[in-house]
Symmetry: C2
């Protein structure tokens, strides 16, 4: 870690915003350049190409989610606390970095094979982390734990769609804190209901 190039960070931020707004293929390199104050080809001094920018963003977010999730589970006193912590972490992420969350499951198909496999692997590990914790908290979940966790992700990640995404990300209809609390309750309610009367298969 050697004091990350600030220009690279700026490009990342603007590219994420533009990709989320109009899609990876809908944004040209000249436009990304203009957003950071340089011209299109100048970006190639900082990234190997447009694909590399998307790969950097998607791998970065996948690693951050997984690392944060592992740290939270390891630091929790019991399964219930682990689930609560996972939830809070993911909700914070969805509310504060909605552009990245959007890209995370919308632009995977635009990645080159190698990087796509890497992101998928990280995503899979993150899901398994949740599945393990969910099974501990809700023993009633059997074979359905994995699809239930996937559905909960869909629920949590839906926030970018439910409000126009402002620059600060703080303009959710009911306020950020209220939205976080609501998502928390929705997710727990869903998992709890999946565990009740579900087949033990």
């Amino acid at each position: 870690m050697v004091a990350e190039n600030p220009r690279r960070a700026q490009i990342r931020r603007e590219a994420a915003r533009l990709f989320a707004e109009r899609g990876f293929l809908g944004v040209g390199v000249d436009e990304i350049g203009r957003a950071v104050g340089i011209s299109g080809p100048g970006l190639y001094r900082h990234f190997a190409g447009k694909d590399a920018m998307l790969a950097d963003l998607l791998i970065g977010i996948s690693e951050r989610l997984l690392d944060q999730g592992r740290r939270r589970v390891d630091g929790a006193d019991d399964p219930r606390a682990a689930l609560e912590s996972l939830l809070q972490g993911h909700i914070d992420f969805a509310l504060d970095e909605s552009a990245l969350i959007t890209l995370h499951d919308r632009e995977l198909l635009n990645l080159p094979d190698k990087e796509r496999r890497q992101v998928r692997s990280l995503q899979r590990q993150y899901v398994e982390l949740w599945v393990g914790v969910a099974r501990d908290v809700f023993p009633g979940l059997g074979e359905e734990a994995r699809p239930a966790v996937h559905a909960v992700f869909g629920l949590l990640n839906s926030t970018p769609h439910s409000a126009a995404v402002g620059p600060s990300g703080a303009d959710h209809p009911a306020g950020r804190a209220a939205m976080a609390e609501l998502l928390h309750r929705l997710a727990l309610g869903a998992l709890g209901a999946a565990a009740e009367t579900g087949p033990t298969a």
Copy 2:
């Protein structure tokens, strides 16, 4: 209704599949043509352009969802039955037409202004239909009914992501029926939890 052109229906089907697989901007007209056995420019005998194909798909699905939803609510004996029916209808849609569900909230930004406004209007009416019913069933839901409904849509529409989408759509991990049942329970559990102890604001 004058016996819809079968070639148009074929183009719609293949275009929906390709757009869902690789994105609207990631698919060329030549490829769509090849999928239906003609060549690229031949498509222009059936659609005004590529944009028109996407518009046809998105407007079509939005209208079908809204029409079906209204019919189901009108035909229900009580609010609870209306919610159950809305749920079943949307789940059937998500499971049987996962390609369209994917496009529905992924490719809106690629529509021309006029058509995008039309789809947004239909979507808004569909959401309001759900919000009304959800408020009747769960009086505890106040201001949070709308974001909660949005989140439930995210949950239900997540199914395309949780399994590789087979041609028949019937290859969900736990079987179609089990998946439908699980989604039903998850959605009801989420809404119920949102209504409990939630601010009445």
